[in-house]
Structures are given as C-alpha cells and as structure tokens.
Symmetry: C2
Subunit: 328 residues, 2 copies
Amino acid sequence: LADSHFIGIDIGATLIKMGVVTREGALVSRDEARTDEINGPSHFVKIAGETFERLLVEAGVEKRAIGAVGIGAPGWVDHQRGIVHELTNIPDWRDFPLARKIEETLGLSVFVDNDANVMAVGEMLYGAGRGYKNFICLTLGTGVGGAIIIDGAIHRGANGLAGEVGHMSIDTQGRQCACGALGCLENYVGNRSIVARALELMGESPTGGSGSIIYEMAGGDPANITTKTIADAAAKGDAVALEVWRETGRRLGSAMAGLINLLDPECFVVGGGVAKAGPVLFDRMKEAMASLAMNKLGRSTPILEAELGEHAGLIGAATFAMLSSERD
Amino acid sequence: LADSHFIGIDIGATLIKMGVVTREGALVSRDEARTDEINGPSHFVKIAGETFERLLVEAGVEKRAIGAVGIGAPGWVDHQRGIVHELTNIPDWRDFPLARKIEETLGLSVFVDNDANVMAVGEMLYGAGRGYKNFICLTLGTGVGGAIIIDGAIHRGANGLAGEVGHMSIDTQGRQCACGALGCLENYVGNRSIVARALELMGESPTGGSGSIIYEMAGGDPANITTKTIADAAAKGDAVALEVWRETGRRLGSAMAGLINLLDPECFVVGGGVAKAGPVLFDRMKEAMASLAMNKLGRSTPILEAELGEHAGLIGAATFAMLSSERD
C-alpha cells in the first residue's frame, strides 16, 4: 500500500533514533545509535541509509509503502531549504543540507524541522493535543524547547526561529543564559537548574543538616541526583524536594500565564524528561497559572501531559513527514 | 458610491472619538466627547447616533456610502458576540452588547474589538505595517497594549484574550500588577512608571542634588512631569532623563527579544504617547533587542514607529470595519 508508512528520525543530544511509523501513528520498527559515535554529516547520512534498509526488512514493509521521511533536529533548522545549521554533538556539522542528502540516499521526500516542532505535530495528531488546533508545546529537559501550533500548523515565524519558549526572559536582570540574554526561563527550570537548586537547599552538607532524603536516594553520591530522584523524594514528602517543585512549577506557571495573556492558546502540552515528575510539578504549574493569568477565561486553560513518551520525537518526525508531504 | 466610507469609533480612557474614513484610510470628518461625560451604555449609544448624523452631513457623504462601523474599546471585548465586558471609565458598563445596540441605532453592520487590535489593523493597511502580514504592535501609554498580526489577521486566541504584551512578566518576583500577577512589563514601562523612575533618580530634592533639568522644565511642579518632559530633557542631554530612557528601552528591547524568540515576527510597530519620545527610546530598544535576541537573523527585526498618530485608533477602527465586513 503506497504511503501507508512514514520514516521518522529524531536527532537527540545523546541518541539518534530512526523508526517506521504507520499512518495511524504506530511505531512498527525502530533502531538507535549514540550521537557521539557519529563522525560527521556524511557518516550520519550513511548510517541513516543502512538503518533504513534494515528497518524496512524488520517491519516487513516495502520501500514503495513509505510516503516520506521526517527529521527532527535540535536547534536552528531552516525548514524551507532543509538545512540544519548546527548540531553541537556531531563534529563538523555546519549549514548541512540534510534534507537533500537524505533524499539522494533514500530516494524519498525528506522534511526537516526543529525537534520541538515535530514533537508538537505528533502530539496534535496522536497524543495529548488531539482535537486542538491552537496550542503551545513545552519540552522540559536539559533545555526548555517549545512549539506553537496555530490553526493546526507549526508557527515558524519570519525566519523559522519561533517557538523558543525557554528563551523568554523571566527576569531581565537574572542569570546569564548561553544564548546571550539574561534570565531566560530555561536557566531556572532546565534539569540542571532543578538539581542545582535541590543541592543548594540541602546546603553544604547534603548528608545532614537539611534532613532531606534526596542524598540517600541518590545512593550517597550527589552526582547521581536527577530530576527523577527529586520527584521520587517529593512523593515521599521530602521538604527540600517539595520546595524545588513548588519553585519550578511557580516559574513555569508564571510563564504560562504570560503566554495566555499573549497568545491565549486552547491548551498547553508539556513533555520531556522533567515532565515525568508528574502531579507534583503539574499541580504547582496549574495553581500558579490559574492565580496569575489576567482573565478568568484564561485561568482554566488546560495544561496537559504529553502522551507519546520516550518515542515522541520519532513519532512526531514521521507524523510531520506525513502532514508535510500531503500539504505539498 | 456604496461602501466607499467607513465609520470608526475609538473609546479611550479620556476621549471617545468618532470619524468618517475613506476606503483609502483618509479621515474626512470627526468629532469627540469626553469619556467622563457619558452616563452609561445607553447614553453612549444615543450620543453615537447623534454624532453619526452630524458627521455624515459634515463629510458630505450619504448614509448608503457607509460600508460598516468599527469600534475599538479598551480591555476585554468579545469580538464574536460584539460584547464589551468592561469599560471602567463609563458608569454601569458591564457585558454590554455594543455591536447589536449600535447596529439597531445606525442600521449598519458593526464590528467591535480591542483597541490595540484595531490600531494594528490600521497600521497594517495605512501605516508603518504596510507590506507586513506578521507583526507585533505595541502601544505604550498609561498601560502597555499589544496586538499580534498573523497572516494578515488579528490573532485573537481561544477566548479572544490574546495580544496583552504588557502583561508578560519580566520579573516573576517583581512589582505587583493590577492584573494579579507580578512583574508585568506594563509596571516598568507604562508612563506612570517612567515618571516615577525619573522622580526617584532626581532624589528627595528634585530641584537640587541630581542636577537634572526635568524639574525646571516642568515649571517647578513635579506633578507636571510627563514622558514628554523627560524626552525633551533627554534631547538636551539631561543625565537623569537619558538614564530613564536607557532603562525603559532596555526593558522593552528585552521583552522584544523574547517575543522574537517566541514568535519571530517580521517587525514591531510601536505607538502610543510614550513612543513620541522618539530616537532616545527607539535607539535604546533596538540596541537591547539586537544584543539579546538569540539568533542573528532575529537581531535585525525592524522596530518601527507607528505612523497614524493621534487618530490611529479612529482610523484603525474604520479600517477594521472595512476588513471585517469584506471577510464576512
């Protein structure tokens, strides 16, 4: 059956994933490689070609069943020309015409976009965003990514730069961000900041003073503390962990209230590793958003947890390929 | 000629303006009333009806030449149902079906929207926004209003609340805003805040210590100090005035950088009384925006001064009526 399946490629900081996804959003075969094992752009293209052949065999799908290929890449992507400008974790990657190179190798149409944008498309069709045509997607991880869906399409803006929710300043005299600005949201609610705040609250002596169980739950090594450790500690009532999530939820909820005042979305869809903290984070976000949005109608804007989980990027990329190829 | 002219009504905090505007954006007759002389919604409708007849005579235009009526109102407006929920400066105004009442009185189609939204439409067709289909409009006055134009249309959002650029928080632990949130942009760059900051920098003794000429330029009465005084003082090199504009421009430029990262507009159009400060404000905004936006393409986003001047609201309202009636 022609165009019954689509290929998704999710380029992450740690892993590159590739998979075959049905028109209904089901992932039928997949593979992954470590990002730091890729030598450069040409190596990436070669690996993608080999993986493609293997995945088709594994999925029992013929090549003519594949409608198109979608790729989600972190950072600055020129969607229209199919260029990924920078990939900091792959050497020698600079202004690489990824869409064209993969097209030449696979003989299929290829669409490239920012990773947060393709995730948002996946959530819109098969995840928490089903039924919504105007929403804002946040991905909470090391960085804070975002995507804006307006009238059922990705809002890219004049230069394809739109959606960087993590780079709205929440304190114009705040922390220096790597992007050059001060006080960007990402510097307060990214996972490193969350862990750093827990350590700060635990004080000089993480084993004692504060009475927090986080240290113990991390096996006695502060380097093992992750946002999951802090979420687990909060579930057991740990005061430090609860305070960390309260502050994080408050900042995110405040940013969301501002986004409601500015864009008035139908809902928010929130995913990424940090979102796995679950209710302890979502409840705090909702409280803050509801107390800070200026209009009573805005205060009931739903904040939904993303549904596509660890393969959201992969399914999103394939879904994005489907939508893009059918729009052309 | 049928539909050659449109009526605009601009409801402001101080003045209500009504005018006849041609299809080409020219204001051919106009009148105004003090907002505080209006007794209530019914009185407003009655006055509008009387003024309408007078304006037609004055303009030498027959009623059948009028295509539609557009109204811009401050605050919360339900555009779809034509309801203006609140007008704090007119007594007993609550959830008033303004469009229907004016339609009944004038026998013409009536379209109502937020004042910043209709101004943006005017600037798009006849002002600084000509040629742009995706931009953000800011109106700097006592409050900070805003409007977002996407694909040539007002972005209203799920509940018609969108565009409140002044109610994005720029400091999550900042000043208490009347809207209930903390640190909204409006509390730092609204005209009262600008004047208050000048007084603060002038210190306890505005006549002496700081050496500022602002006090003298205000005729020796601090109550006379306006943003215009501070702009005039800056033009003469007054250090306090220059510092006030530097801070104001920095905060606005920072907010604009965040808006570029989020929405990536083609340009900004900035109007309102505070914008009359001119280059001393615009240069500082541009510098801050260019140093803070994360992507080099975004850093060259034009920041344009609104062109329609004191009748921007009136011309915008009429233009908005024209676009709305032709879309239906």
